[in-house]
């Protein structure tokens, strides 16, 4: 009789190893964990098999991983800081095309800026202050990632909570929440965000003066020098402005899913058992709709990067001298088309990152969906003779 065995590619084996390692770790912490979660481990493995079989998904994952690597280690890898202008050291440093090599003289003001005397190469060119574009892009990755994570995590959090309440309770609660959501959706998001991010910075600057520790934490996270802390206020105001426009989309999405999930009999069964509303929402409704939402969140991270870059391009958000992809394009556009690199390279990075998040999100949606996961299961399995199966 023929039997099925898994035909695994190297990626499958890698993901298997990761999951198995995690499982053994959990088993050590909590004895018996492995046998309790046997089914769960199986599902996770299948999820990775699905992802591994989507070339676009892998491409997206690689792009996203690269971006995250840049965001975490970029500021340490950058040859210069984001605010080091070399014009005074060498006039050739102003708007130097990619690949230009300049000579840094033995002068006090150059050494004080943290540059070693000798040759220095502008890998991707420089801007009008003689700042290294490659360094600024590396710093900008940190800004973009943090802003998008902060915006999407809080924005989606508010949206998921409100959507769950709205969809689960229905009736007048639903009506009130959804009408407020509609109000926010009816107003153009970017305009609202612009209005908020243009007015908030002054209040936040005052707040920073009273709470230096918050400015310090943010400064550390965004890899910003102490001298530029006032500029953080405008960055924070962009984040707050985006929270205000980010949640309504999630509220709509989650409410719709919650409405359909709550009709399942297991929700009524939980009610009959006396399970509290909060517990039903968190343990039954949320886990049964989280797949598509997680996929949407992944895509949305790209969207948040784009929106933040757009706001920076409009002169809101990151203010000079902070490094931000949108801001670099905005500042560089004055010298376009001569200094094309100031526009082209940041654009390329934004494009690749957003593209990567979109590809990954698409593949994740398939991986989270139990139906496609099941169909993949058969692709991964191959019919073999029984003896072969035993060998495998």
């Amino acid at each position: 009789m023929p039997e099925y065995v898994y035909v695994k590619n190297p990626l499958d084996k890698l993901s298997d190893a990761i999951i198995d390692a995690y499982a053994s770790f959990m088993d050590k912490v909590k004895p018996g964990w492995k046998s309790k979660n046997r089914g769960r481990i199986e599902e996770w493995k299948l999820m990775f098999y699905t992802l591994n079989r989507s070339p676009l998904g892998i491409a997206g994952a690689v792009l996203v991983a690269f971006f995250i690597f840049l965001a975490i280690f970029g500021p340490y890898l950058a040859p210069l800081s984001y605010r080091t202008g070399l014009v005074l050291c060498d006039l050739k440093a102003r708007l130097a095309p990619p690949g230009t090599v300049i000579t840094i003289p033995h002068k006090d003001y150059c050494i004080r800026m943290g540059v070693h005397p000798g040759k220095f190469k502008f890998l991707l060119g420089s801007d009008n202050y003689g700042r290294d574009l490659w360094s600024r892009i590396l710093y900008g990755a940190r800004t973009s990632l943090l802003v998008s994570i902060l915006v999407v995590s809080i924005g989606s959090g508010i949206g998921i909570i409100l959507g769950l309440i709205s969809g689960y309770y229905g009736g007048i609660v639903d009506e009130v929440i959804m009408r407020i959501t509609d109000m926010f959706l009816a107003f153009p998001g970017l305009i609202l965000a612009m209005a908020l991010s243009a007015t908030l910075p002054y209040a936040i600057q005052g707040w920073f003066k009273r709470h230096m520790e918050i400015a310090e934490i943010l400064g550390y996270l965004f890899a910003v020098k102490r001298i530029d802390y006032p500029a953080l206020a405008s960055l924070l105001s962009v984040i707050i402005a985006l929270w205000a426009v980010w949640w309504p989309g999630y509220t709509r999405l989650v409410r719709g899913s919650a409405l359909s999930v709550r009709e399942n009999t297991y929700v009524e069964a939980a009610k009959a058992l006396g399970v509290s509303d909060l517990s039903i929402m968190l343990k039954h409704i949320l886990p049964n709709m989280i797949g598509p939402i997680l996929a949407y969140i992944t895509m949305d991270l790209g969207g948040a990067i784009l929106t933040e870059a757009a706001l920076s391009f409009l002169g809101l958000g990151a203010v000079p001298p902070l490094a931000d992809w949108g801001r670099i394009i905005y500042d560089g556009s004055q010298y376009f088309p001569y200094a094309w690199w100031l526009v082209a390279f940041p654009t390329l990075f934004i494009f690749l990152t957003v593209f990567g998040f979109n590809l990954l999100g698409d593949a994740l949606r398939d991986a989270f969906d139990p139906r496609t996961r099941r169909s993949i299961e058969f692709k991964v399995k191959k019919i073999v003779a029984k003896e072969e199966a035993q060998e495998a």
Partner: protein
Amino acid sequence: MALVSEQYSGEYMEAANALSRLFPGEEPLVIAYHLKKYFPVRGIFRVVGYVRAVDDVSFMIPKGKTLGLVGESGSGKTTVGRLLLKLIEPTGGKIYFEGRDITKLRGKRLKEFRKKAQMVFQDPYGSLDPRQTVYDIIMEALKVHHMVPDDPYSYIVKLLEEVGLNETHVYRYPHEFSGGQRQRIAIARALAVNPEFLVLDEPTSALDVSVQAQILNLLKELQRSRNLTYLFISHDLGVVRYMSDYIAVMYVGKIVELGPAEEVFEKPLHPYAQMLLASIPIPDPELAKRKPAIKVIGEPPSPINPPPGCRFHPRCPKAFDRCRREEPPLVEVETNHWVACWLYKA
């Protein structure tokens, strides 16, 4: 009547006295008294009508017995089951469980009630959360009522063995089971908190015939060993006859006939009950020929706008003038056999 002691409210005494004649000699566990449930039908701006799913129904369920509730789709039998468990709020009337009015229960008291009354649902594929293992499903029930035993694993294994499953099933997910096994898990979940009363809402209608018999036998066995009281809701008359001690026949939100199971099956009095029972297929063609055929005519009316008088009169072969004008009350036509029909006198 002697069963009603002073500790109960006057309202309960009234209901219990009124219903004590239904099944003499039985101690009531659950009493439904003038129970009503209207679902509003919303138009664009206002409520344009009501679906009278349950319309003034009174009955009681004796302790340790099974009351079978039969009727066509849309007759309101599932709504009655959900009302008795307070999964939905009644529009009017009272429900008493062990002498206590449950329609007003809130918070802690409601939780105590939930522990005593449980439900097994029709669809075993939908009633188990696909993301919980059997262990999680049963633990949830125990945790809610702070009943987690010192050794939950062995308690769950014992429970699973009681419903015909075994230790190998503990950490599995619902999708790994067949329909019958899932229904066993659903029963185990309901039994985890040691309830006294179970509402069985068509527990076998989604299953194969052979599996049906197994589940029914399991339910009967559990009733004996745990002294459970059942409300058995079904449209399958054969199954109801097998399971029930007493039977209530519902038609468009009303009980039209009520009595001991054998009595109702052997000698149905209401024309609707007669029609319903005549529609049971008989396996033996010789026997089937001898049985008088009653033609099924028409369809049940809309519960939004039920016909005046007796709700069955448009389909009734024996309807006369009075049926179209006045609604018949439920009266005791023969000993213990209650019928709502103008053909019979109390």
